[in-house]
């Protein structure tokens, strides 16, 4: 009979960029159960909505996470705008979309680098992050911040991009796409990567739905679900389709993210080609009163923003359900049956963001 033991994993571990702890129940080297534990970086940011003006709170929403900064700001603003019945100028919608897609490229390249690092493929890690620098430079040029930046406001955006800036972004995207080709080939074709990822941590489609998976994790199991299809921001004007794979393993999750980078390049170019002129924000009068659930597709998956307002400048409630909150339960399922040595890589393939999750 196999010897049963409990091995603590994390909160500090070489593959974990953020703290999460797991109690792994092992039978010899095989994981038979896992209990996740968070709570190392809870900041109570949702509670702050009671003390900050609903317009000021945008800055806090943008600081929920370092990687999804733009998306959280946009999700919060769009939910408040919906409650207040504000129609945001078309140009602002396009600008939000461009920054969102840049954020997706940034997030996925960051994850690809971490994945390569976790596999011990250091040159691939450095290539991924070298490419990511170009996106960070674009953020710097367009917003003044490289990772966390404030561009959203209730009623539109705070910053505009002139035509020279948009042309420069289009050129950079073209360059990056060319640079992506060898990276793409290595991640999808290299023997080392395939042997490490194929067949590892398989999440069948029915389990992905039952366990509430979102984003690339859900789409890698064959479910065609991408919230951008709802057409928020400028997505209704763009050619968006969910990127899917069917194997449901770690390799499929990697494949979906790689293809989403290429899709984001195309969407950025399309948005730059279609962006109309005009104002970037509208004046906001009065206070919100009502409630709304807003969904947006963050790089890690569907995020849900709930606001409840009472007609004063302070909201009653702001709730953010982040993608990682939804991806932790399926991750626990994935770990059951795997080998202890595969645990770090499987955890990494959900692209966990714990600061988002804990808020």
């Amino acid at each position: 009979m196999a010897k049963r033991s409990i091995v603590p994993f994390g909160p500090q571990h070489p593959v974990l960029p953020e703290p999460v702890h797991l109690d792994l129940v092992l039978e010899d080297e095989t994981v038979v159960g896992a209990i996740p534990s968070i709570g190392f970086i809870h900041r109570g940011l949702e509670k702050l909505v009671e003390k900050r003006d609903f317009k000021q709170y945008v800055y806090i929403a943008e600081r929920v996470c370092g990687i999804c900064s733009c998306g959280h700001g946009m999700g919060y603003c769009e939910s408040v705008e919906h409650v207040m019945g504000i129609e945001v100028p078309k140009r602002a919608k396009y600008l939000r979309t461009i920054w969102m897609e840049m954020s997706r490229v940034h997030s996925h390249l960051l994850w690809l680098g971490l994945l390569a690092d976790a596999m011990g493929f250091e040159s691939l890690f450095m290539e991924s992050w070298k490419l990511r620098e170009k996106i960070l430079d674009m953020f710097d040029a367009t917003t003044g911040g490289r990772v966390i930046f404030s561009v959203n406001c209730v009623g539109g955006v705070l910053k505009d991009m002139d035509s020279a800036m948009l042309a420069a972004i289009a050129r950079t995207v073209d360059d990056m796409e060319a640079d992506m080709t060898p990276l793409f080939q290595t991640f999808l074709k290299d023997y080392t990567v395939q042997s490490r990822l194929k067949g590892l941590g398989v999440l069948p489609r029915d389990q992905a739905i039952l366990q509430g998976a979102v984003g690339p994790m859900l789409r890698a199991s064959g479910e065609e679900y991408d919230v951008r299809m709802l057409g928020y921001a400028a997505y209704s004007d763009l050619d968006v389709a969910p990127v899917t794979a069917t194997a449901g393993d770690s390799y499929a999750r990697c494949e979906v993210r790689l293809k989403e980078i290429l899709q984001s390049f195309r969407l950025i170019r399309e948005a730059i080609g279609k962006i109309p002129g005009g104002d970037i924000s509208v004046p906001v009068k009065g206070n919100p009163n009502g409630e709304y659930f807003m969904r947006i597709e963050q790089p890690r998956g569907e995020a849900i923003y709930y606001v409840k307002a009472n007609g004063t400048k302070n909201l009653d409630r702001f709730r953010l359900r982040t993608p990682t909150t939804s991806n932790i339960p399926p991750m626990v399922e994935l770990l059951k049956g795997c080998q202890l040595a595969d645990v770090p890589l499987i955890i990494l393939t959900i692209d966990p963001c714990i600061s988002c999750t804990e808020r």
Partner: protein, 115 residues
Amino acid sequence: MDQKNEIREITRDVFFATVIRMKMELWRLVQICAVRVEGGYDMSYSFCRNYEMVTLRLHVKEDEEISSITQVYPCAFLQENEAAELFGVKIRNLTVDYRSKLYRIDQETPFKEKG
């Protein structure tokens, strides 16, 4: 694409049966949210199928105990623990019960009172 995004008020006596039906009809649980209201809480359980979203709204009195839906949707355990720890919602039969230690905070039910 303009899809349904509705909130349905629901009573306790039909709540669990409705959640089971949602699962049978392949709705995905997407979020659980507690909101403090006078005399208790509003618990919102949102489900998605394709791009439709339906939120079941259950009013819970402050001292009332509700059943966990983790028996039906196992993935609910994190968000139900959060509602219990931050708001003080009394939830029984959680499959994984962190007993108010999910966020490791010193203050008890910080979201229960405003301010």
